[in-house]
């Protein structure tokens, strides 16, 4: 168990190191000179040289990368060129809005996805199952920014009290939550349907049915436990993705989250902020992967006991 843990943690650290290298390489490719971006196009060479020296841009690349890595390990992701603020503080200040949206979208997509998957599996190979297949495929195929815009149009035409953008009160969560949730709900419902159908063929479920349990009860009481586990894993990883900011939905609804922050950073070529948001996202995904691994180790005795046996 301990060896397993060490293996997973060091793998996570390796992946983070790799992502930091790639983001650093991309930042180096940016054609804009950060010194010019800060001091303006008319700055004299002496000022530019001073800024470059202050930012350590005159050091060799590996020294710059090493510095960056050491500071990132201390939670310091540098300062935004344009906003003149600490990148870490910017990300932290935008995180609550993103987290609120991420959690509410995840809850809605799980409720919707599980309900749709259960109904389709219960009425397997009937018209209801076919309809669910079409609906879920349609949900997955919708461009999220278009769905958001359509909801904006509908809400402004038919309702009064629903805010169309920004974050002010719980009602402003309604439209962005639906926008984000529909696609993953469609996906989850198909996965659950497949898992449930497989589980229903297993010996232990067929035994339960053979002993007189109704199909529906067998599905909910016995098959569900096994069918839900992969779904929870998937949702955990998706949640990490959502928590690192959703650029499209936040753009459509003017949501003050990390996705908008990243979007603005990219358009102003604010290199430290771009690197910071990308690294933060990778960090959350590595963390979620680790959490999923731990959960499996806890639930699966084969992993838990491997070192002893």
């Amino acid at each position: 168990m301990v060896a397993y843990l060490i293996r997973r943690v060091s793998f996570g650290a390796f992946v983070l190191l790799g992502t930091s290298l790639i983001t650093f390489a991309i930042a180096f490719m940016v054609p804009a000179d950060p010194a010019v971006a800060m001091a303006g196009a008319k700055a004299d060479p002496h000022t530019l040289a001073t800024i470059r020296h202050q930012l350590h841009l005159d050091e060799p690349l590996y020294v710059q990368y090493g510095d960056y890595l050491v500071r990132a390990l201390h939670g310091d992701l540098g300062r935004s060129y344009i906003r003149r603020e600490s990148v870490t503080r910017l990300i932290v200040s935008r995180f609550p809005a993103t987290a609120l949206l991420a959690v509410s979208a995840m809850v809605l997509s799980l409720i919707l996805g599980i309900a749709m998957g259960l109904v389709a599996a219960a009425y397997r190979d009937t018209a209801i199952d076919n309809a669910q297949l079409i609906v879920s495929l349609a949900m997955v195929s919708m461009p999220v920014f278009w769905l958001g815009t359509m909801l904006l149009i509908a809400a402004s035409a038919f309702t009064r009290g629903i805010p169309l953008g920004g974050l002010a009160g719980w009602k402003s969560l309604i439209l962005p939550t639906i926008t984000l949730a529909l696609g993953s709900a469609g996906y989850y419902s198909r996965i659950l349907h497949t898992n449930l159908s497989d589980a229903m063929e297993q010996e232990y479920v067929r035994t339960a049915i053979g002993k007189g349990l109704s199909r529906t009860r067998a599905m909910i009481k016995h098959a569900m436990a096994n069918a839900l586990l992969p779904l929870v894993t998937l949702a955990g990883l998706d949640l990490a993705g959502l928590l690192s900011g959703v650029v499209l939905t936040e753009t459509v609804f003017n949501w003050p989250g990390i996705g908008r922050l990243a979007y603005e950073a990219i358009f102003s070529l604010d290199i430290p902020l771009i690197m910071g948001t990308v690294l933060f996202s990778a960090f959350l995904i590595v963390l979620a992967n680790l959490a999923v691994d731990l959960m499996y180790a806890y639930l699966d005795p084969r992993i838990r006991l491997e070192e002893i046996g």
Partner: protein, 269 residues
Amino acid sequence: MKSRANAMELIGATMVASLVLVAVLAPMLAPHDPTRAVANSFGDPWAPSWRFPLGTDALGRDVLSRIIFGAQISLEVGIAAMAVTMTIGVAIGLSAGFFGGTVDFVLMRFTDVMLTLPGLLLAMALVSVLGPSLLSILIVIGIVSWTSIARVVRAEALSMSQRDFVMAARALGAPPQRLIVQHVLPNVAPTIIVMAALGTSGTLLLDAALSFLGLGVPPPTPSWGRMIEEATIYFRVAPWLATFPGLAIFYAVLGFNLLGYGVLRRRAR
């Protein structure tokens, strides 16, 4: 339910074929020039009418004609980007699965790292670094989308390279490139075709998202994603402007998804 898989495949194929037809016949089908002002509706888009069935935009251009011509660039980017994605994914997956050992380890750890990076953010950053052009968009979509294909192809190539007929060919002294091209690749091909159909729905969505964010193929080429972006400020006064191009993207993505999943299910049974 084989019939259901067949129906999905058939409907998907029909939808994709109709799109290709529209793209090819665009100059004949479109009632107006998609890039010129044909109505006097500057700043005040016209609602759908007989002359302009889907209305006109704020620059006086015909929305229907722009959507019809938009099929060209969307399909071009979607399919070409998918080809780039497949080339990278198949090359990496085949090498990892076939050679195994250190090659496999290095390539797969690289894949793990790429999988951890946020796709859309990475694509946005890369396009803004390289500058939005058709070529840079194709390359960028390829760079952020190949990972899942590499994993699937690796798994197939791995199991294939341990089959008796490949072992036999190897024992007879066939060089690696011959083993890959003549024995492994043909047997992995069906999987690659399914992944290509599903991959195209992904590249279409990514391209539309980039266009929506202002990082797509530059104007005046009509693109569905950018049409929606240009329409967002008119969502109250001219809702049709955002509605129809989105329906076009939806139709295209759904078509490729139906085709891909249909083939997948038929093969699975």
